[in-house]
């Protein structure tokens, strides 16, 4: 490990988490709240009411300039130039071999201005890859991860909670904001006006928002949200709940389901790759070849028929033969049975297929099911 990655990083909200009695975990070098009280209670709160997350470990990279859209078309696998101002898009950044460097969300804030949000552990690699790829394009790439905090309010009560802090004139912006859209909104935080970027995005499978806030205002926003949320059963929620929520929603986690060794097509992210877009982009040749070749194994959902949960790296078998490997697995708090994501040989990916997961030497029955495991009522 290099000296650099060995340095612990703390978000601007670290002391708030300590005050709330959080237990901490390392995530991509960041000391993040794992849970405050019970991760199950936090999970259920997000499904039934609302949860407040510190996601300040996520990266923020501004891409600005006349070529911003054209540049991101080259650097990422999707057609970012087609994204309307005010909208966001989920995409991938791949290497020349078609391996996934990261999955990320890009917000188009203006014709020539995008905010790219990579995962915590990949922020530096993404910022470097973007800077490297900027070459002949008329763009500026600026990594502002260190100065920006990110707070998420997730759950059915999110709109009601935000309206407590958002200026009345902007209430309609909040209520009418579409999923994967973003806008600057006027907040009142401990008596002071604050204009912040609000996005209707998340990683929980619930309605919710993410708020980008300068580090110096992060703690006051966090406290204001917690008090405003009191009447709406908002609880602070840690990364343990975030992981079980995203798994139920069938969302991939970089490092588990996605990596440099994984093809977007195997991961079910083929539709994200815009092979039809004009011009060259990094990874195009390899990705075209992958698509042409077809997938040997694919990411599927597994539902446990017993009570035991599958865990990452457990082998998946059919009639005693290994046919895949689990990438994430847990007992689903919402559904009451174990769920898992696994890469499984293409012959065995039909929903309804009975497979076994080797639970430390004991085969446990699972069934292939369509994703997501959980979908909220709209």
């Amino acid at each position: 490990m290099s000296a650099e990655t060995a340095t612990k990083q703390y978000t601007a909200l670290y002391e708030e988490h300590q005050k709330l009695g959080a237990s901490f975990t390392d995530f991509g070098g960041w000391q993040m709240p794992l849970k405050y009280q019970s991760e199950l209670a936090e999970h259920h709160a997000v499904r039934q009411a609302a949860g407040l997350f510190d996601l300040s470990h996520m990266g923020e990279v501004w891409v600005t300039g006349p070529d911003a859209g054209k540049f991101l078309d080259f650097a990422l696998v999707s057609r970012l130039s087609a994204v309307a101002v005010g909208k966001a898009k989920y995409s991938l950044i791949c290497n020349e071999d078609g391996g996934i460097i990261d999955d990320l969300i890009s917000y188009r804030r203006a014709e020539e201005k995008f905010l790219v949000v990579p995962n915590a552990g990949n922020a530096k690699a993404v910022a470097e890859a973007l800077a490297e790829r900027a070459g002949d394009f008329d763009v500026t790439v600026e990594d502002v991860t260190a100065s920006i905090s990110l707070v998420a309010v997730q759950g059915p009560n999110s709109v009601a909670i935000l309206k407590q802090l958002v200026a009345a004139a902007d209430h309609a912006v909040v209520t009418e904001m579409k999923y994967y859209a973003a806008d600057e909104v006027h907040f009142t935080v401990s008596g002071a006006p604050l204009r912040l970027l609000l996005a209707r995005t998340g990683y929980t499978g619930e309605d919710g928002f993410e708020i980008y806030v300068p580090n110096e205002n992060a703690a006051s926003l966090w406290s204001a949200l917690l008090s405003a949320g009191k009447d709406f059963d908002l609880v602070p929620a840690g990364l343990a709940a975030r992981d079980s929520l995203r798994l139920e929603a069938g969302m991939p986690l970089y490092g588990n389901e996605l990596s440099l060794e994984v093809s977007p097509y195997d991961a079910g992210l083929g539709p994200i790759v815009a092979l039809k877009k004009e011009g060259e982009f990094v990874g195009r040749a390899a990705l075209e070849a992958q698509k042409e070749r077809g997938s040997k194994r694919k990411l599927v959902g597994l539902k446990g028929l017993g009570r035991r949960a599958a865990r990452s790296h457990y082998p998946v078998s059919k009639d005693g033969q290994t046919v895949g490997e689990v990438t994430s697995g847990q007992p689903s708090p919402t559904l009451g049975y174990p769920v898992a994501l696994a890469y499984v040989d293409i012959e065995h990916i039909e929903p309804g297929t009975r497979l076994d997961v080797d639970l430390r030497g004991k085969p446990e029955p699972f069934e292939v099911v369509a994703l997501p495991f959980y979908k909220r009522d709209k």
């Binding site: 849970k35 991760e39 343990a240 079980s244 009570r307 949960a309 847990q330 007992p331 708090p333």
Partner: protein, 126 residues
Amino acid sequence: MSTVLSNLRYSEEHEWVDASSPVKVGLSQVATDALGDVVYVDLPEVGSTITAGETCGEVESTKSVSDIYAPVSGEITEVNQAAIDDPALLNSDPYGKGWLFTVNVSEEGPLLSAEDYSSKNGGELS
């Protein structure tokens, strides 16, 4: 902060043992707090024999699976069905309703005093 009850003795693997006969066995709060919310408990059967230092069950939380090690050798006389039905008892009441099983002890394994256990593993003596 996890509590360590001073009237119990503890194994290196975080099982507690009380002074009754047959002895009652459970998991320390230091262990259940570290595990997170327990969702599944697998216990030995009544009448089976367990051997100190060997695994005799499993406890599964939202995040992980851990073995339960026998803190003593002997025959299982009772298992806590309530904890099997509601594993959250291991978190909410690890020294009370969240006990695991009782054993007719033939031989004790190495056990630590509450003081030694807490100085080694943290937790607050009570």
